[in-house]
Amino acid sequence: MVTNFFSDTYAVLWVDLRNMRRHWKSTIATSLVLPLLYLVAFGYGLGQGVNVDGVSYLAFVIPGIVALTAFSISFNGAASKLQVDKFFYKSFDELLMSPVSSYSIVIGKALIGVLRGSISALAIYVVGFALAAPTLLANPPFFLMLLLSCFVFALFGVLIALVINSHQSMSTFSTVVMLPMTFLCGTFFSLSQLPDVAKAVLYFLPLTHVSNLLRTTVLGQPFPWLSFVGLIVFGFAFFVGCMVALKRSSV
């Protein structure tokens, strides 16, 4: 049973890995463009000489950009291929008609998002580390939180790809939900500057907790347990959502 879970999960991942292997250069390169632009525009362009929460704006914004890279690449890495499999290739039905368990399908489909998100976020971290090395730490909790964040966002991507049934709806979702999250969830500015009501609303979004976790761990600040628990709760909710959506897709 357990062996089947691992081999099935790998089988689901395997097909996406083959695909990624074929297109890895363009996949990685395109995923880095936007975060690097953010880094230049916000870190260097706007943030020169500014301090936020006691650190330079560059050091403040780098973990935020790493967080939004993990968010967008993990989400899209898992969601986009799954949508292609569902709508264009119809190969997702093959998975549903196979003896592979729902657990393996969900985890396997999420893992490609985790891989792509981790690679891109780490690449941004390396660039940021080179730019603001004395302030940014390379410590295990940061990498663990990064991996966990990628996993939660990839599950979010799988969930949305399972429940949304057209490209138009996916595009609307990206504009209405993803884009505001990118800018509002403590990635580019400190939430301490916001009114309490706005702060409370933003804490219901997973990226807020990831920004908080990555920033505090990389800057060596006290670990935000509340955000950690929040992220776990989001991850669990997304996983359950995936299982329910998958159950509705088949018998």
């Binding site: 089947n4 081999s7 099935d8 790998y10 089988a11 689901v12 395997w14 097909v15 083959r18 695909n19 074929r22 297109h23 499999d85 264009f88 290739y89 119809k90 190969s91 039905d93 093959e94 998975l95 549903l96 008609m97 196979s98 003896p99 592979v100 897709s249 088949s250 018998v251």
Partner: protein, 287 residues
């Protein structure tokens, strides 16, 4: 139990439309069963229910004795499915697609390579194995989709309109391939728009219309019930009328009694399309 597929009062609705309406169907082990019907008749929905992709609203369905609703995992192990639309991953080669199917159907790694090579040889695709899916012709893609579904040696193969879009030659090659599979012991459940396909391949056929199975039997029996000989008459150069007779002699007598100004008259053997039109009032393929 000789019924490989068994359904009783199987019903599935989408909103107010009953895609399958109290379907009672039996498919015997070892046969090629043809499922005929116009678009929207409920053929694909039936396949989706039987292959565990769609949950029925009520009724019972079993495959190889396993309840489709409560034992889907067991059903999945005995079936292979070739969907109406090509369901190969076009970012991969044929061999990679086969490897993927072998993996998700739990084929042991030691057997995988050998089985893939055997099947590629079986459908004469060995030299195209490492080509990307989109580089192949329509017939080759269909063959590739079929061999993907055969990797785990299913006892029952569902083929949903497998020859749509293929030229006559490719279609005939695929028929030979299906016969070969059936001779090797695979039960085949085939949906098709092509009457000729059903006539030459299927041991028995069922005709679906608006979610109902309106008739089922051996093609020859169904034709015989209607009358072995058909007389087609073109009336007023506008409308074709068809009458059916048990033998040629009766048909000839009928033709001789027709008014002299009757236009084109054709006497021919009855075919399944006649059965279909008589039972449904529509042509196969009409929507």
């Amino acid at each position: 139990m000789n019924n490989f597929i068994y359904t009783e009062n199987l019903t599935k609705s989408y909103g107010n439309i009953k895609a399958i309406d109290n379907l009672d169907l039996q498919v015997e082990r070892g046969e090629i069963f043809g499922f005929l019907g116009p678009n929207g008749a409920g053929k694909t929905t039936t396949i989706r229910v039987l292959t565990t992709l769609t949950r029925s609203d009520s009724g019972f369905a079993s495959v190889d004795g396993f309840d489709v609703r409560t034992e889907p995992e067991k059903v999945k192990k005995v079936i292979g499915v070739v969907q109406q639309h090509l369901s190969l991953d076009r970012d991969l080669s044929i061999r990679e697609n086969m490897e993927f199917h072998a993996r998700i159907h739990h084929l042991e790694s030691s057997k995988r390579k050998k089985r893939i090579a055997e099947l590629l040889e079986y459908v004469e695709l060995t030299e195209y194995a490492d080509k990307m899916v989109d580089a192949l012709s329509g017939g080759m893609k269909k063959k590739a989709a079929i061999v993907c579904s055969l990797l785990h040696e299913p006892k029952l193969l569902f083929l949903d309109e497998p020859t749509v879009g293929l030229d006559a030659q490719a279609r005939r090659r695929l028929w030979d391939f299906m016969r070969r599979l059936n001779n090797d012991g695979t039960t085949i459940f085939l949906t098709t728009h092509y009457i000729e396909e059903a006539e030459v391949l299927c041991k028995r056929v069922g005709i679906m219309h608006h979610g109902h199975l309106i008739t089922v039997g051996k093609p020859a029996e169904l034709r015989k019930k209607l009358g072995a000989v058909a007389v087609e008459t073109l009336v007023n150069n506008k409308e074709t009328r068809c009458e059916f007779f048990q033998d040629r002699e009766t048909a000839n007598n009928y033709v001789q009694k027709l008014p002299n100004d009757s236009a084109t008259v054709i006497i021919r053997d009855t075919n399944l399309e006649d059965v279909f039109i008589e039972r449904t009032g529509e042509k196969v393929g009409d929507s």
